[in-house]
Symmetry: C2
Subunit: 361 residues, 2 copies
């Protein structure tokens, strides 16, 4: 653990939080002026966004900006902070599609509005009200992300350079999300397909594109920008896949007090991850039986979770995924060893990479 870059990352995180708080305060008052019925909308997004989150995408974007030669700049902080609102859209809609009850240890947005419907004794179905609210709040967060970027105060030229990267990142996010829900509906699991989903949902959306976004804010020269794009792809794609693999492990073995999700949540949900595809590939007949019986079972018991965890460990899939995370992280970090990456940003990116992939089980 390197304290200096950790402090620097914490400082960026704090400034991102400050700007999100300020932007949301303005929007809350805007919505309140339209109608008091919209106050819960603003409150829910405020609470969802400000009460937690690692701010990985703003951090990657800001470090990408610094590594491309950008100078510390408050407007750039606001621009990269907007990525958290995009992520809020993704999470709100994801929780609804996965029917997840919680997020960061609190009710997911559709559950929040379901509860509000019940408390206020509104008409109709609470679940329907909750899901409609989650659809609209996700949409609103996506629009706010855009608006926060546009109003960040960065220069016009920087904004115009950032827009195409931002658009491509968002198309890739939605494409990755669709591949993911489609994967859950197929009759077989596949390591190759799950790795592709990890590439779009995490490699590109979480790491590579935020870095490109940051670079586009720093660099006006197209040739230089191309060069940094290439370095950040080499660094970001394997790192993002490693991040997703860590997420797979956390979804199975993670401590609820750390993940904010119930223990073994991905097992109950039957989530098709690279980890589970590898487990299936290696399972013997008995182990296949355990998977068939418990994986994705509603009301999965603690015993069922324990049995599935044993299978994932015993097949060697867990260790293989750990090894793969190490290998991908190492490939990723190698890409930073170039003249183009100065010592300061190098240290920051290394620290951030380790934070992303070494989350506590």
């Amino acid at each position: 653990m390197n304290q200096e870059p950790q402090r620097a990352l914490a400082d960026i995180r704090m400034r991102v939080q400050r700007d999100l708080t300020q932007y949301l305060a303005t929007q809350t008052s805007y919505l309140g002026d339209i109608g008091s019925e919209l106050v819960p909308v603003a409150e829910a997004i405020n609470s969802f966004l400000l009460d937690g989150g690692k701010r990985l995408r703003p951090l990657f974007a800001y470090c990408g900006y610094l590594a491309s030669g950008g100078e510390d700049d408050e407007a750039i902080i606001a621009a990269v902070a907007s990525l958290e609102l995009l992520q809020a859209c993704a999470l709100i809609h994801d929780d609804l599609m996965d029917a997840s009850d919680t997020r960061r240890g609190r009710p997911s947005i559709h559950r929040w509005f379901e509860g509000l419907h019940q408390n206020e004794e509104l008409l109709g179905s609470p679940a329907h009200y909750g899901s409609s609210a989650a659809i609209l709040l996700g949409d609103l967060a996506l629009v706010w992300a855009d608006q926060m970027l546009h109003q960040s105060g960065i220069g016009e030229a920087a904004l115009l350079r950032a827009l195409p990267v931002h658009d491509e990142m968002r198309v890739e996010l939605m494409a990755g999300q669709f591949l993911d829900i489609h994967e859950q509906a197929l009759s077989t699991q596949s390591v190759a397909r799950s790795l592709k989903i990890a590439r779009y949902k995490s490699g590109k959306y979480t790491v590579e594109r935020p870095l490109h976004f940051g670079a586009s804010l720093a660099l006006a020269d197209p040739a230089k920008l191309e060069k940094y794009f290439a370095i950040f792809s080499e660094f970001g794609l394997p790192l993002g896949e490693a991040f997703q693999l860590r997420d797979d492990l956390l979804g199975v073995f993670g401590d609820p007090s750390v993940t904010g999700k119930p223990a073994g949540d991905d097992l109950r949900e039957g989530k098709r991850t690279v980890l589970m595809a590898m487990t299936s590939d290696r399972a013997n007949e008995h182990q296949e039986g355990v998977i068939d019986r418990y994986f994705g079972a509603k009301n999965l018991s603690a015993e069922g979770i324990a049995e599935l965890r044993s299978v994932i460990t015993d097949t060697g899939a867990r260790q293989h995924v750990e090894d793969l995370i190490d290998k991908l992280t190492s490939t990723s970090l190698d890409a930073l060893n170039r003249d183009e990456i100065q010592l300061g940003p190098h240290t920051l990116l290394t620290e951030l990479a380790n934070t992303a992939v070494q989350r506590t089980l």
Copy 2:
């Protein structure tokens, strides 16, 4: 019926269709390169967007552009065409929230993917697959709208002027949508609240903001822009409300072959509109009984629809809404009688206004 402006509007509509077709062809190929699983996503949005629609928002935006002194310009056509993708997002998510089976006489997006799930014998719940796909396709359409605007080829200064208008329009849309779903859950109906929803969903989103968007593409001078914004608010807000009131009438009395929705769809759904709020305000005890029995009843029969229609007519609410449409339209058209609006655009806007509010029952 004035043939010359009708031909001019048809020409703009055709060019909008051409640009949407071209943009979607490029994106279809982009998605196909990511994975063949994404081809149905592209096909569904293509079919949803290209097989129908009046293109009202692009038309208002383009006429707003021309009326503000803008010269005919292909890049501006592409920029305003992007509003149809935003509208596609709104409709896809709206149909999901309303659980509507059809749109423009074809399956809604969630039903389309529900059918695809069944045909391909995928795993899990077809309804869940359908709703997840609709959430993501709506999100994708929202992002594509942005991307199409950014890539339209309009000048950088025009784009930078248009972004804040575009952002505000989208926030207002989502706010209006939330007010609408919240209204459906309240224990009482209210003409005032329903008129406010009409103002946000239609007055602003469908008419006023597209006109402002067009003006912002035409005018660099802030003082001039302010002046046209004011004229277009005066013209657009009452017209948009009239448009929404016409929509209320169509939802109850409309011919399915024209609306593309089943007869009396809003009655079956129990949709709280200005029309229904006015009906409730005027209903006697017997009429209230009919409303309580049939309004929002699942499997509402043709007889129930007929009874409700009689109540809406007999209370005088139907005629009152017709009168209100006339009054709002007349107020709206009066706002065009100014030196700032040249004869050509004046004729176009008048024709477009009449098209928007005089749709066939």
